[in-house]
Symmetry: C2
Subunit: 241 residues, 2 copies
DNA sequence: GCCGATTTGTCCGTATGTATC
DNA sequence: CGATACATACGGACAAATCGG
């Protein structure tokens, strides 16, 4: 699958920004210049720039130009951002990740589960509870619900590796959108049983509903993180009124 | 300032989705149908749809159509999402917000502050410490640093109302992008002095660097929230490789 | 299985408006 | 004022995925 042209421009500019070919607060070449550089239409350049804007890399200024507002972030803790499997996050954070499957079961959604997860009552689900280790230390406790219909043939063995790799690679599922809510919650007995919180009495909790390209929700997950190894990053833009 | 055409389409479709004119999992009219309905070009319709996609409202499917994937969220706690002033958040969450200014000072950034906030050493700043009340209960502790050059004439009186209203309304500043990091931290003595945490020994912390339309960072803020009244929401989309 | 109609995805060229310099 | 730069919008072309007959 050859990638789209605007994707190439996006990645190329992104790399030039990250490697400081354009330094912080410096102007990028004008759109018309980039049109010549990449031999494409202005719309295509603008699409790449608008994605960089959404990522917080640049700030276009009407009548002036496009400014680089990217600064590298120090990330001591385990950083969470886009939609990623634990395996992918581990690699990006340069840590050695491993997984212990605590529970693996097939269940049917009841009303309580429907209310919590968004899966309709009666739906067949896999319920998985997993403990995640970073550099050998247990730091994250995951509770996953996967739609059985979308993830047939899931096994504890797959769950101990990467479910996402199985879904995307083997099953050909395309993951698209994830709606997430972040809260801070008291530790539970289960948390304390597996994770040494070193004095904290709460955890960072991400709950997410994830959809595939067909708009089908195939996953509900609650991911409970040790506070010292949790860092969530985000870029927001102000809406006009 | 008359709003753009795509903004009108975006808002109209958004409202129709929220009021369930299109129900969950239902298809929206095809792009060509919407072109006729709104008397515009297909690009304009597509722009509106792509924003709805970014907001997690719809899922476009190649060759099939655009599906509504919006479901209303219950929000018991104080929900944070886009770039908002405390005043705006209070209204949206249907709570009565008030503010007590604890500190107000003009300072000059040193190396330590530069490292923390991103403001260069030597920069003149306003430092403000504020306690935020919801329905009369102190729940949020804010530490703000505002670039003096961008926010001249700031006073404790303005800080007790809304700094954003002053910046946008009186000074004509246009707020654009905010880079945020979310962590969970131990309570400090200052936290405990002002906020009753009812057994929690940590708080939800949002640190943000906010830029105006010229790409100038005018604010650094650390916002410390009571765990019971904190809820951060987000929509992410999976990047292709 | 094939073909044509429909629908979304990508890309182009152009025109016009608005802000900046 | 004119030149430059980004913002919005239009119309058209073709590709790719889907669906029904």
């Amino acid at each position: 699958m050859p990638k789209a042209k605007y994707t190439h421009i996006y990645q190329d500019l992104k790399e030039k920004i990250e490697t400081e070919v354009y330094s912080y607060q410096e102007m990028l070449p004008s759109e018309n210049t980039l049109v010549l550089e990449y031999d494409c239409s202005r719309n295509t350049v603008r699409r790449a720039i608008s994605e960089l804007t959404a990522d917080g890399y640049v700030q276009p200024m009407h009548g002036k130009g496009v400014r680089n507002i990217f600064r590298p972030v120090e990330q001591a803790a385990f950083t969470v951002g886009g939609i990623e499997s634990f395996k992918e996050s581990s690699v990006r954070n340069r840590r050695e990740g491993s997984t212990q499957v605590l529970q693996f079961a097939e269940i049917t959604a009841d009303e309580k589960i429907e209310k919590k997860t968004g899966f309709q009552k009666g739906t067949l689900l896999y319920y998985i509870q997993r403990l995640r280790f970073l550099n050998g230390i247990p730091l994250i406790l995951d509770h996953n619900y996967f739609l059985k219909e979308a993830a047939p043939g899931l096994t504890p063995e797959i769950a101990s590796q990467s479910v996402y790799e199985y879904l995307e690679g083997t099953l050909g599922l395309t993951i698209s959108t994830s709606k997430r809510t972040l809260t801070v919650e008291h530790v539970t007995q289960v948390d304390e049983k597996y994770i040494d919180l070193k004095g904290y009495n709460c955890m960072a909790v991400i709950t997410s509903q994830t959809f595939d390209v067909n708009g089908i929700q195939f996953e509900y997950t609650q991911s409970r993180h040790h506070p010292d190894f949790f860092r969530f990053q985000d870029v927001a833009t102000r809406k006009m009124h």
